[in-house]
């Protein structure tokens, strides 16, 4: 990965959960976007997602891509953050047999992967049982 801009421009989302709330209808978008898909308004309020939420569905990846080889097996789920916003996130520091739909989790700042021969460290959010 020669050019870090691709990683750098997503940092507000990956490090701080910065999102957008439609000023017209209140729909929340993570990441932010230019036009509300619900009401087509173009005006948004800058917000941050809550760092607490609940698991809507989950799985345990046992055959992972090579960037995650050192983390396999690992759990991933779709998490609904309190107050709105849905994310796909790893569920770390958990016992796999205790994963459940509805389980409460909170977000932590973690290393996601290493990229390229220089092994640039890429960070972001993971969820842990709350």
């Amino acid at each position: 990965m020669a050019n870090p801009a691709k990683y750098w421009r997503e940092i507000p989302q990956r490090y701080r959960l910065e999102a957008a709330k439609c000023q017209s209808c209140g729909e929340i978008f993570f990441p932010p976007r230019l036009i509300c898909s619900r009401c087509k308004s173009r005006k948004f309020e800058k917000i941050k997602l809550s760092d607490q939420g609940k698991i809507l569905t989950y799985t345990v990846i046992r055959t992972g891509p090579s960037q995650f080889a050192d983390q396999t097996p690992y759990a991933v789920g779709v998490v609904e953050m309190d107050g709105g916003g849905m994310i796909t996130s790893q569920i770390a520091d958990c016992e796999f047999d205790q994963l459940a739909v509805g389980q409460r989790v909170r977000v932590e700042f973690r290393r996601l992967q290493k990229q390229g021969p220089a092994g640039i460290l890429c960070y972001g959010y993971k969820c842990v049982p709350a």
């Binding site: 055959t63 796909t88 992967q113």
Partner: protein
């Protein structure tokens, strides 16, 4: 818009790990088989459905490449991409070109050459059908995404891993009758459950494979069909397409494929047909759970009951509504861009009575459903023996 017919279909000789054949070899072989089957002496335009020749073999500009290798320069040629729905969407584009009157004879081919890269690179290429920055960056894989759908479906409706396994078993049973199939052998339900876990609850035998292959079809106006071809023409009754969110987590309901439901409603309305009128269906079983949810979204079974369909024999070859008589993506293989066109090939042959041991007796109306990613795009065609 004019009525359109399929007058020629073809696949390359075998789907699987075809080391000796390149991307261009596969496409031209299937295309020539379809052209020969149609008996036409020229084409006006061609389409190439292919998800990502760029990531798999570092080749783009497929319109020019395939028109060249088919000896068809200077006809217009168009590459179509919609992840795993590339083939079906290419077919729809070909259909629209003939229906509009812009062209008379259009060739649609789909192809994917997936084995020139390592398994890891192939997995990466396929993940481009999902949200790279907000799903894949987090470590989710394609089996992982469908596993999330499976878990949600199991939680809400009580669907079981055994019910998923029966889908794979059924499709392999059909595939064992298909000489082109990559994995043309039978498997057992326990065998599926005992196979290595890829992403809970999906085992490796719940997942379609990495495959090289191509498929092609020739379209023309229905009026011309009888003049051009000796084979019974198959009419395209409806062609419908829809999108949904790129990311699974943006869906209102993760146990549902709304793009399939929207496209199905449009297709049934355009065809003047309903789920009960179908005799044969080819749908997108990229994973066993996909077949289960798609059957619900197509209205072939009540919402939440998709898990019962393979288990009960409803969708078996001799069942109430045979589904994936070709072996589906699971047994036949899933060369991504080819799949949607291969579904058209299978249904066309069924409606012509050419399916041999896989023949559904008296099949007159068939449906194909092809989708991309986790249902971010979907294209449906309804065909009828003319």
């Amino acid at each position: 818009m004019r009525d359109v017919a399929v007058i020629g279909v073809g696949l390359n000789e075998k789907w699987g790990e075809i080391w000796e054949k390149s991307l261009r070899d596969l496409y031209t072989e299937a295309a020539l088989n379809a052209i020969d089957d149609a008996g036409v002496d020229h084409i006006d335009s061609l389409y190439v459905g292919c998800m990502t020749s760029g990531l798999f073999v570092s080749q783009e500009h497929l319109g020019s490449l395939m028109a060249d290798y088919l000896g068809q320069n200077p006809v217009p040629a168009t590459r179509v991409e919609s992840a795993c729905a590339s083939g079906g969407v290419a077919f729809r584009q070909g259909y629209l070109e003939v229906a509009s009157g812009a062209s008379d004879i259009v060739l649609v081919g789909g192809v994917e050459k997936m084995t020139d890269v390592s398994g890891d690179e192939a997995t990466f290429a396929l993940s481009a059908a999902a949200d790279m920055e907000y799903e894949c960056y987090q470590g989710i894989t394609f089996p992982g995404l469908y596993a999330l759908v499976a878990r949600a479906h199991m939680h809400r409706y009580g669907t079981t891993p055994m019910q998923l396994a029966h889908v794979a078993v059924k499709n392999h049973k059909n595939g064992s009758l298909n000489p082109v199939a990559q994995y043309g052998f039978e498997i057992t339900p326990q065998g599926v459950l005992d196979s290595v876990m890829v992403a809970d609850p999906l085992h490796i035998l719940d997942c379609s494979p990495i495959t090289d292959g191509a498929a092609a079809a020739v379209l023309c106006p229905l009026d011309l069909a009888k003049k051009l071809s000796k084979k019974p023409p198959v009419k395209v009754l409806a062609s419908a397409q829809a999108t949904s969110t790129i990311a699974l987590h943006s869906r209102k309901d993760m146990t549902w494929f709304d793009s399939t439901a929207v496209a199905a409603e449009k297709a049934y309305k355009a065809a003047g047909k309903g789920p009960k009128d179908l005799h044969v269906v080819e749908l997108h079983d990229c994973f066993t759970i996909a077949e289960i949810v798609v059957l619900e979204a197509l209205g072939l079974v009540e919402r939440g009951k998709g898990g019962t369909t393979a288990e009960s024999g409803m969708t078996a070859l001799g069942g109430k509504i045979p589904v994936n008589t070709s072996g589906g993506l699971k047994s036949k293989g899933h060369p991504v861009g080819a799949t949607g066109v291969a579904q058209i090939v299978e249904v066309t042959r069924q409606l012509r009575g050419e399916s041999g041991p896989r023949q559904v007796k008296g099949a007159k109306v068939g449906l194909t459903q092809n989708m991309g990613g986790t249902g971010g795009s979907c294209v449906i065609h309804i065909l009828e023996a003319a």
